[in-house]
Point group: C2
Chain length 234, copies 2
């Protein structure tokens, strides 16, 4: 049972917002469309820090690969790196994109039964009840979506189930999203789970409901279904 750590955020140190001051300043002064000639002291006066601090911040942002540096005729010039632009694009997308009404196509797959194990843990179970007001059926329905499901769900407000530790074992947090599952004309309200530690990738959705979804809808592995993130259940 190898659990992978899901990256809710990028790797520390290489996240653009670890160097947000430098990146934002560069963007504000045109560093998105080309190299900007800027000295440590100028950056310092804009960010209201010393020349030394500003120079250091710049070097570190360059080291982290978020800012590109070159030598111009009148000193060093900097621009926002393509790597940082990529991260920014994703972030801005979250900001500007209206909540999409997406019906994710997905195929029912079989889990390994560990969903039951986790749901039985008081640390998780109590939180689910508190947040959603129902005692979940002790088993998850696993779907393999046709695309990256987490990227779709994460645009919605998550209800966070906090992690905890029992004895010497740590259990990670779980991002949960209210969802609707469709099979033909049948509709089930449920909750999608994206655990911090999971055996699955971002295209797998684990669903819970107050009852066995499989039995209620009469589905088996391989059945095609549609799943949609929603703002709230009920």
């Amino acid at each position: 049972m190898v659990a992978l750590k899901r990256k809710f955020l990028d790797e520390s140190g290489k996240r653009w917002f670890d160097h947000a001051d430098v990146v934002v300043a560069l963007v504000e002064f045109g560093g998105l469309h080309g190299y900007v000639r800027i000295s440590g002291s100028s950056l310092g006066s804009m960010l209201e820090v010393s020349q030394q601090a500003a120079s250091r911040k710049l070097s570190r942002a360059v080291e982290a690969g978020l800012v590109d540096k070159r030598t111009g005729s009148a000193g060093f010039e900097y621009t926002v790196s393509e790597f940082a632009r990529g991260q920014l694009r994703r972030f801005l997308n979250l900001f500007t994109a209206p909540l999409p009404r997406v019906e994710l196509g997905a195929t029912v797959v079989s889990g390994v039964g560990e969903g039951r194990f986790f749901l039985e843990l008081r640390g998780y179970g109590r939180q689910f009840e508190l947040i959603y007001g129902f005692k979940p059926y002790l088993g998850t329905l696993n779907l393999k979506a046709d695309q990256n499901a987490f990227d779709v769900f994460r645009m919605y407000p998550s209800k966070i189930v906090n992690g905890f530790r029992t004895g010497n074992r740590r259990f990670g947090l779980v991002l949960t999203y209210p969802a609707i599952l469709r099979l033909g004309s049948q509709v089930v309200e449920c909750v999608a789970l994206f655990p911090e530690y999971s055996r699955y990738g971002d295209d797998v959705v684990e669903l819970i409901a107050p009852f066995s979804i499989k039995k209620k809808l009469g589905i088996a592995d391989g059945t095609r279904v549609l799943v949609t993130p929603v703002l709230s259940v009920g």
Copy 2:
């Protein structure tokens, strides 16, 4: 001669990127569309800092007015404040808006002749020459634009003229942008200046060129002109 400090960036401490980690995490977990239930320890595990640090960061972001806090059924809930959303919107604009081909309508106004004084300072003059390759005529043409000119120009890559100090006097930095000035069919390539310290507001554009623009175009106070930011002169 009262010089106002132009705000290139927002006030320190109340800038969203001073709390970028918290704001970004909140956005990533849906805090844009409503309150998100999140504990210090959860935020900590996402940002890879301790529970204490995460709680502190949250409180500080709340104090700064960037994050709103409320008490939910299962603990505190947070959302990105409208104040922060405003800052983010402006930032996103810089990022997503294509460089607009704007012709700013403006009226020629008379300055107080201090343009000449600043241009004569070696600290500025040498940098202008180095960057733009011409010795500026010792006087600025001042325009009062019909809208906030700085907000338009700042979408373009700026060439920064660094500040300096002579004796005990400090001279702030100047953001400069290549521009084109139009009067009827006549066109002049010039450079727009937005000094850190200025007597004017963001709707006033100070222009320099290798020659006297006023004489070349035969204009006087009150003449209507059009000014357009461009990527480069020549």
